[in-house]
């Protein structure tokens, strides 16, 4: 079954890190991706640019309304995601726990809704 692992963390966390520390986190991410790929569990994933670059789109009365943001007052922002294949929730939780930003941030584990074939 597919799960989305949504990574929430303070997007300014890298500001206080040295270059070597940033490199270590990046390396840890790449290592995890490679390992999941080798196990056939990695279906995709991307890091996201900062919330400051985000735009929000709504259609109201047939008109497209675009606003800057979102500017929710939260400490953690959606900063990226993994899409993985897992046997069960426990399996997905075990993968989520290995994402570097699970330390300091949090990972939301969401089952992907199966769509009827065809």
């Amino acid at each position: 079954m597919k799960y989305a692992l949504l990574i929430y963390a303070d997007e300014r966390r890298y500001e206080t890190m040295s270059e070597a520390e940033q490199g270590a986190v990046f390396g840890e991410y790449m290592g995890l991706v490679e390992e999941l790929k080798a196990a056939g569990k990695y279906l995709g994933g991307e890091p996201l640019e900062a919330v400051a670059t985000a735009s929000t789109v709504r259609v109201q009365n047939g008109k497209t309304v675009v606003t800057d943001g979102p500017y929710a007052e939260t400490r953690e922002q959606l900063g990226g995601f993994f899409l993985v294949e897992a046997e069960s929730l426990d399996d997905a939780i075990a993968m989520a726990a290995r994402i570097p930003d699970a330390r300091g941030g949090s990972i939301e584990v969401r089952p992907v809704m199966p769509l009827p074939a065809g």
Binding site: M1, E87, S88, L89, D90, D91, I93, V109, P111, M113
Partner: protein, 424 residues
């Protein structure tokens, strides 16, 4: 005749008894056989019960009613699947292959029932479910309480409780919470969650007021039963032993805790002859085992040890408060929470004098951690009264009364305040 109907006991009564005692085990097995589908398992059991009523009336009660119900429910579930258009796909999801019609029922049951109950406990107490949902699900499936009984016990409207159960089961299905005993590496953390849920059930039953009293006593019994299942089916770990000991020791005192008028009786004032000796003896033996098995002992084992020291005193004055204070020191190290600090201060006051406890409570009050908790000013009031600072004691009782929400506790504080005001 083993398992046969006793003369005089009709089939309906016998069936009711089987459901009462065995439905958790039956459901656990069915959920396992049906690939973790709670709803399908419950449905199949209901159908099997309807068949049992008619069949047992005609042919007599089978030698092993539980195995009979499991086997019948399983066939009912398969029938239902066959009727559904997607039978082929669903059949693949079934974990067990269909046994030959002549497969001995006992064998099927013997292989699956023990593991299944444990699997069901870990599924119901999965940390991905909200604690109140864990409790409701455990009571519904493992203990066989009706949704209505659970709603009454928790003072929640029936539709709310029904909704809670539906949501929990939907999450188990959609998020695929597995139906299995966790692997060795996850077991300590997951077992902790199970023990916490069992203790929540027990505490809900133990709370002094509110809800249906009969159902509440039943909750304590069910919690103890679940604790015993964990003890029986897993290697005996210190905290699991400690939890069962703690519950048994509390439960043994239940008849002495509330007087004829329904008022709370303090431990020091309890009629100790009302304590249940067999449960106390069992609890005390388990305390020894728990303390021996855990290095260092965890919070449940230590709490059980503390209640055990109280239980050993034939009269309140003979309580070994120094032992209790020492155990609270260990508990404080294992679990440095403000409530533990409060209880530790009270124990130290008994062991080393009111002034020592009062100093602890002053420090706790200065931390502000228990600002909204009525038992902090209530405890301070008792110690202030003992060192002769009566005016301050009365002020603290007023502060406690402003914070207390539970009715029996409020009445208790009012009584204490009147005693103290009169004792000038």
């Amino acid at each position: 005749m083993p398992g046969g109907t006793e003369r005089g006991e009709n089939v309906a009564a016998r069936l009711e008894r089987v459901v009462r005692d065995e439905s958790g085990r039956i459901l656990a097995t069915l959920i396992g056989l049906l690939g973790g589908d709670f709803d399908r398992a419950e449905e199949a059991l209901q159908e099997a019960l309807a068949v049992a009523l008619a069949r047992w009336e005609r042919d007599g009660v089978p030698a092993n009613p539980r195995a009979w119900l499991i086997s019948t429910a399983r066939h009912k579930a398969l029938d239902r699947l066959r009727r559904e258009s997607n039978f082929e796909r669903k059949r693949d999801e079934l974990r067990a292959e269909t046994p030959a019609a002549s497969a001995p029922e006992q064998e099927l049951e013997r292989q699956t029932v023990v593991d299944d109950r444990l699997r069901l406990i870990f599924t119901c107490c999965h940390p991905a479910l909200a604690p109140e949902a864990q409790v409701a699900l455990a009571l519904r499936t493992l203990c066989g309480l009706t949704t209505e009984e659970i709603a009454r016990a928790f003072l929640v409207p029936l539709p709310t409780m029904a909704q809670r159960l539906v949501r929990a089961k939907a999450k188990i299905r959609a998020a695929r919470i597995p139906y299995r005993v966790p692997e060795e590496s996850e077991l300590p953390e997951r077992l902790e969650a199970v023990l916490r849920t069992i203790y929540l059930i027990f505490n809900e039953g133990y709370a002094a007021t509110g809800g249906d009293r009969l159902v509440r006593t039943e909750l304590c019994g069910e919690a103890i039963r679940l604790g015993r299942i964990v003890l029986a089916l897993l290697p005996r770990r210190s905290e699991a032993i400690g939890l069962v000991a703690l519950m048994l020791l509390h439960h043994a005192r239940r008849r002495a805790r509330v007087d004829a008028a329904g008022e709370l009786v303090r431990l020091a004032d309890q009629e100790r002859a009302l304590w249940e000796t067999s449960a106390l003896r069992e609890g005390l033996a388990l305390v020894e085992e728990a303390l021996g098995a855990g290095r260092p002992p965890g919070p449940f084992a230590l709490q059980a040890a503390i209640v055990g020291v109280h239980a050993r005193a034939a009269r309140a004055e003979e309580t070994d408060w120094r032992a209790i204070a020492a155990l609270y020191d260990l508990l404080w190290r294992a679990e440095p929470s403000p409530v533990v600090a409060l209880n530790r201060a009270v124990a130290r006051a008994e062991a080393f004098g009111a002034a020592v406890g009062l100093a602890d409570l002053d420090a706790l009050r200065a931390s502000g951690a228990l600002d909204r908790y009525h038992l902090l000013p209530a405890a301070r009031a008792e110690l202030l009264a003992r060192v002769g600072r009566r005016a301050e004691a009365l002020a603290e009782l007023d502060a406690a009364l402003a914070l207390v929400s539970q009715e029996t506790e409020r009445r208790f504080l009012v009584r204490r305040r009147a005693e103290l005001a009169d004792g000038a």
